[in-house]
């Protein structure tokens, strides 16, 4: 009776929602192959904008800077975020816990304009008093990115730790392992998938950030989002469509590959578990 009607409603909701999410991206890709210089007017199939893109040294410089910032940021954010997650889940109550957990979750919802402005003012004040940072660019953008990315990593690590069975750690403790040994030999290996996920998230967050980077960057340091933004500010540009296509495809392939690997690993683990139960 009405279950049929309801599932039809739910099905169309999903179709509508997915169309809403994906049609703009799909069209962005289609129009990157437009021969016409005016983006929305179709002038036949062409790959000329990809050629224009590869000749631009400006773009390559900003890609290199963004990738450099993103990878350094991801490593530090994963380290700091993992430590923070461990402290919050496994250390019980300690002095300043409320402040600490507040500082971990606030960057997740803090408007970027505020984070960017406040960090820039900090860097300027620091320069005035201790002479560092003497110039703004790679160093200041990376520090700013670490500060908000580590919060995301900490959240991932927290939920991993909370959902993790503690029996292995307890067994090691019963067998006389020291707490630090338990951390390095058991807890951290178990956390590795979460740390990989955190690293990837921190990497993409950094690649994606425009506002905070624009605030804390100095003359000469232009990240990829800053470059894209300065170009699209005045309207549509076919070469940006081509650039967007490359970025979106690279990210999509990366994410799907990572998901597939994790899926395979999980399947493998389930299989091993089943076999060990049977034997």
């Amino acid at each position: 009776m009405n279950t049929g009607k309801r599932s039809k409603f739910l099905f169309s909701t999903i179709c509508f929602g997915m169309a809403f999410l994906y049609i703009p991206i799909f069209l962005l890709i289609v129009y990157s192959f437009n021969a016409s210089k005016i983006v929305p007017v179709w002038g036949g199939f062409s790959t000329r904008w990809y050629g224009v893109l590869f000749e631009s040294e400006e773009i390559w410089a900003s890609v290199a800077l963004s990738l450099k910032i993103a990878s350094v940021n991801a490593c530090f954010a994963t380290l700091l975020g993992t430590l923070a997650g461990l402290a919050l889940v496994r250390f019980g109550s300690f002095k300043g816990r409320t402040l600490f957990s507040g500082m971990i979750s606030a960057p997740l919802v803090m408007p970027e304009v505020i984070t960017g402005l406040s960090l820039l003012l900090l860097f300027i004040t620091l320069k005035e008093f201790i002479g560092w940072p003497d110039s703004r660019g790679f160093n200041t953008i990376t520090i700013a990115h670490i500060t908000f990315s580590m919060a995301y990593v900490a959240v991932i690590i927290q939920s991993r730790l909370a959902g993790m069975a503690q029996d292995l750690e307890e067994a090691a403790e019963d067998l006389g392992a020291r707490p630090f040994r338990i951390l390095t030999d058991i807890t951290l290996p178990l956390l590795a998938p979460g740390m990989v996920a955190g690293w990837l998230l921190a990497f993409t967050l950094s690649l994606d950030d425009l506002i905070i980077a624009s605030f804390v960057s100095g003359p000469g340091a232009v990240t990829l989002p800053m470059l894209i933004y300065s170009r699209v500010k005045l309207g549509l540009r076919p070469d940006i469509n081509a650039l967007a296509t490359i970025i979106i495809l690279a990210v999509a392939i990366g994410v799907l590959l990572a998901a597939w690997i994790m899926f395979r690993q999980q399947k493998q683990r389930e299989l091993e578990l089943k076999m060990s139960e049977e034997s």
Binding site: M18, M150, I211
Partner: protein
């Protein structure tokens, strides 16, 4: 704690090498908990908390043509007489200028309506995902998360092409013999952009909440003869309120301070706080007013942010 100390003494023999290595080893084994906590803590104190105090300080200063372009709060007038200068003009200026007040109201209005739109679209989607089969569920979730990984800026840019005067939507309208509509650089485009980019933030908390729901309650209600609408209002909706609140906060808070969307899609016509702050800082180089705008924006958001924090705390406790 006792066993820890005992074992530590027993394994001391394996520690060898120079004094420094010995010392480092000692520090790591005895104080690693302190290190684990202190390293991220100090980082956040310096790079997250301290900057807010600086913003606060500058918001109460006066703009001057100098480097840095504001007056110091504490000045040492000769012979160690401290002179504290606090200027509240910046806040009075914001309050008296209709432009700022209207910008605030407009930002809150836009993000409130966008949040409601996200909820109206996201709720049935989350519901549909939860009720689908195991494999479909994973594929759909993947599809919801995937745009989140791709560039935010490029997703906003994609809509510029759709909404432009000669864009695809207007092409379709003219094809049907209708008048083209100006959509890009209007408030409408800002709504579309916010709903589009923040929809996953609404769907994911709703999904997480609905997945933990006890669906047998719904069946019980149906068995007892409740109509679907009644079941929804009396059982489903109350049970999903935590998800609704979390999703709404995750959309509302960042949308209020949004800069890119009003700037690229709204053009000069749509005023939002994030844009005013950015322009005040970069174009007008009025740091004290920019800082005052930042603090006023924080005041608007502090309640929703604390609510979110509170919910997060409860979430980790319940786990």
């Amino acid at each position: 704690m006792n066993t820890e100390a005992g074992l530590e003494a027993g394994s001391g023999a394996e520690v060898s090498g120079s004094m420094l290595a010995n010392w480092a080893n000692h520090v790591i084994h005895h104080h690693w908990r302190t290190l684990v906590l202190l390293v991220p803590f100090i980082w956040l104190l310096i790079f997250f908390l301290a900057p807010f105090f600086i913003v606060f300080k500058i918001a109460f200063a006066e703009a001057v043509i100098a480097s840095p372009p504001y007056t110091p709060m504490i000045e040492w007038v000769d012979e160690g007489i401290m002179h504290i200068r606090v200027v509240i003009d910046n806040f009075a200026y914001l309050w008296e200028d209709d432009l700022y007040v209207n910008t605030y109201l407009n930002s809150v209005k836009i993000s409130t309506i966008s949040t409601i739109l996200c909820l109206l679209i996201g709720y049935p989607m989350a519901y549909a995902i939860v009720r689908s089969s195991h494999t479909t569920k994973h594929i759909l979730l993947m599809l919801i998360i995937l745009p989140f990984w791709t560039s935010f800026l490029l997703r906003v840019y994609a809509w510029m092409g759709l909404l432009a005067d000669q864009g695809l939507i207007n092409d379709i309208l003219t094809w049907f013999g209708l008048e083209p509509v100006r959509m890009l650089y209007t408030q409408f485009a800002v709504y579309v952009g916010i709903v589009y980019t923040y929809l996953p933030f609404m769907i994911l908390p709703l999904y997480a909440n609905m997945e933990k729901l006890d669906w047998t309650l719904l069946e019980a209600a149906a068995d007892l003869g409740a109509r679907p609408a009644t079941t929804f209002v009396t059982v489903t909706l109350p049970a999903t309120i935590p998800g609704i609140v979390a999703g709404a906060l995750l959309v509302f808070i960042p949308a209020t301070g949004e800069y890119v969307i009003p700037d690229l899609l709204g053009g000069g016509n749509v005023l939002m706080i994030g844009r005013v702050l950015y322009n005040e800082f970069n174009a007008n180089i009025d740091w004290p007013v920019a800082s005052a705008v930042a603090i006023a924006l924080l005041l608007v958001l502090v309640l929703p942010m604390m609510l979110y924090q509170h919910m997060q705390g409860k979430e980790t406790e319940s786990r």
